[in-house]
Symmetry: C2
Amino acid sequence: MAKEIRFNAFEMNCVTHQSPGLWRHPEDRSRDYKTLSYWVGLAKTLERGLFDGIFLADVQGLYDVYGASPDAALAHATQVPVNDPLLLVPAMALVTQNLGFGVTVNLSYEPPYAFARRMTTLDHLTNGRIGWNIVTGYLDSAAKANGRIKQTAHDDRYEVAEEYMQIMYRLWEESWDADAVVADADGGIYADPAKVRAIRHEGRHYKIDAVHLSEPSPQRTPVLYQAGTSPSGRAFAARHAECVFVSGPTKEIIRHRVGYLKDARRAVGGAPGSILIFALATIITAETEELAREKYADYRSYADPVGALTLMSGWTGIDFSKMDPNDIVQHVENDAGRSALENITRADTSRVWTVREVAEHVAVGGIGPVFVGSPVQVADQLEAWVDETGIDGFNLAFAVRPETFASVADLIVPELQRRGRYKSRYAEGTLRQKLFGGGPLREWLPAALPTKVA
Amino acid sequence: MAKEIRFNAFEMNCVTHQSPGLWRHPEDRSRDYKTLSYWVGLAKTLERGLFDGIFLADVQGLYDVYGASPDAALAHATQVPVNDPLLLVPAMALVTQNLGFGVTVNLSYEPPYAFARRMTTLDHLTNGRIGWNIVTGYLDSAAKANGRIKQTAHDDRYEVAEEYMQIMYRLWEESWDADAVVADADGGIYADPAKVRAIRHEGRHYKIDAVHLSEPSPQRTPVLYQAGTSPSGRAFAARHAECVFVSGPTKEIIRHRVGYLKDARRAVGGAPGSILIFALATIITAETEELAREKYADYRSYADPVGALTLMSGWTGIDFSKMDPNDIVQHVENDAGRSALENITRADTSRVWTVREVAEHVAVGGIGPVFVGSPVQVADQLEAWVDETGIDGFNLAFAVRPETFASVADLIVPELQRRGRYKSRYAEGTLRQKLFGGGPLREWLPAALPTKVA
């Protein structure tokens, strides 16, 4: 039987996420990102479409590489202003029963003890639907905002992250036994102290000696997401991640990454199926191909190339404001930025790409593919991507909010259901159980769990 | 015209807050603290009663002074387990229009840049109804949980807090001009970069160089709450707080504190009316005095003296497990703890108090008064407290959740309304406008605002 296709909504608590300029479209509600009504309406739409989850990106810093200033980011609203993503979850949880919440939090700026409680609290309030996208940060501006001169070197960040994760696992999994809370009203005992213990850790970066403040939540450890693309990021994902987001313009690039991730998971003793992989994509659809193409052309007319270059400068470290729009990007020799550029130019290797062309390409849907067409055409493409790359589903970006997601729920989901490629109802249980079935937490990764280490 | 009386609900994201043992009462829903349904139901009840706000206490650490271990706190659920309070706000905001949210956050464990965004996000999502109860921490266990050997000395904590507040004011009030966001779709400009600026601060404890991540929210600075009772705590309140919580068993003690706070506010150049003062109290009421007394007796039969002593040991630093229940507490000579004990024993100075008696007294309603009676009787007492002490209202603790609050909303509020001592509808605007009218932020405190300092 062909694999079911999974959908996540790729969102961010800000005006412009992956499609700069589209906030100006008359149907777009991006300017309502500050309101609860936008988010609860979206959550209901996604649950109607049986999306596995909403994935909330975040960045603690401004894109200030373009023009060596944050001015372009502010003027074009490229991921700034950006509000806290965690605080959207309780309201969305209140109006849904099954939707999962994968939230990006940069561990560099979260004291571990308080953060462990924050996530356990959300797991309680969502009844086991919380996930954490583990990020270690990539903008110098975020480091400066937190009293550091410069971002910590890349590999050191992952060393800090490893230590942080050990503390998290111990607080979430070890501090309270599963049967610690007895809530015995007659005996007057809420928790059995013999089944609760302080976690003691003294490492290179953190020191802690404390009982976890929260009682065990349905999942204990939130579902762990990761999106790192560097070698150390992928090694980290192999050890910790249950869901991984990948992005690239072609099936070939994605297939390569899927293979790499599955091999890395195998190398740490886990089954390849213990990791779910979602690829970035944007769907523009309507009842007919013609209507979809019209819609796409309409959207493109609102695209904002300067906003796109502002994002790309942040991602690559290259100040595109200093380049001529007609410069050929294949000639860029900056090591740090080349892979991000290749992500775009490899979409069509038969040609050279100018800076202007890259900007226009990125301005709708970022560096992922854009599937444009009737429901049948889009479903064909989605099936081909899943079947030819080994991914498990898509992390769907929006062009126009919430229309992009509503049209997926109303047009694409029914088409995939007709083909037997999409669930007709949610599975029971927590987010982890919905994604992986009833198995215990991360059985594939005994070495990472401190209970197995001790 | 007699002053209107204001109500806040004094809550905490845990099982036992001020009334140990009452979680065992058959009508009590404290064990549902982990669910959104408890909190949204409560929020609706409070808004029905035109409460100004819900005030969420918090503590980042366990009460481990009693018996030199956290065992008693765990067994008796005294403020542990305790979940994050901020995450309750978005769901409660979704089901209410006017209720304010005063949330306790310990600045010692919150990196300033991320915390400033968190509060701005909540101010956006609540449409200007967020408040912050500024705490600097008092449990050694919290310090150990955060990689420190011992809690920072008391006065040093307030020095750190002063520097922290300067950063907060600058991020909230100075980084973005009020008209920075133009959202000009035709011109393609979201924010005018000329009206947004990085905040640069390099002090003894913090260093920051960053644009605030969030655009201006309705209140910018949340309504600031404070509850410190030490001299440095009260000096801090005089400079920063808009609402202050006080607690004590008698009108005389409270009148003294009110006078002290108003004088301190005057001394820093503010009008005495620029600070609202709420006193801790618990109301046990029913249609008749007899029914109220029966209810109170029923509640007291569930009171848990060991739980009460566990709380008192944490508050005073005295290990009451080492004292005999018949010991006289007036003989305790521990300086740190004496004032907390006096808070209780002064309720009746005509007698000596044993440890057991104090524990039983504290076990319903903590160290505040308990008003028991018919609506008329309780309203009489509330009026007397307000008129004789100068307070503006009450911070109402619960005995049984949510019954204590529901009976206030349904019985006490109508009685006070009949007397012209309680509003019949909410005022318009943000929480600050509801509390203080239309004036600008904290006009009483020019020195604290960095725009005036610079």
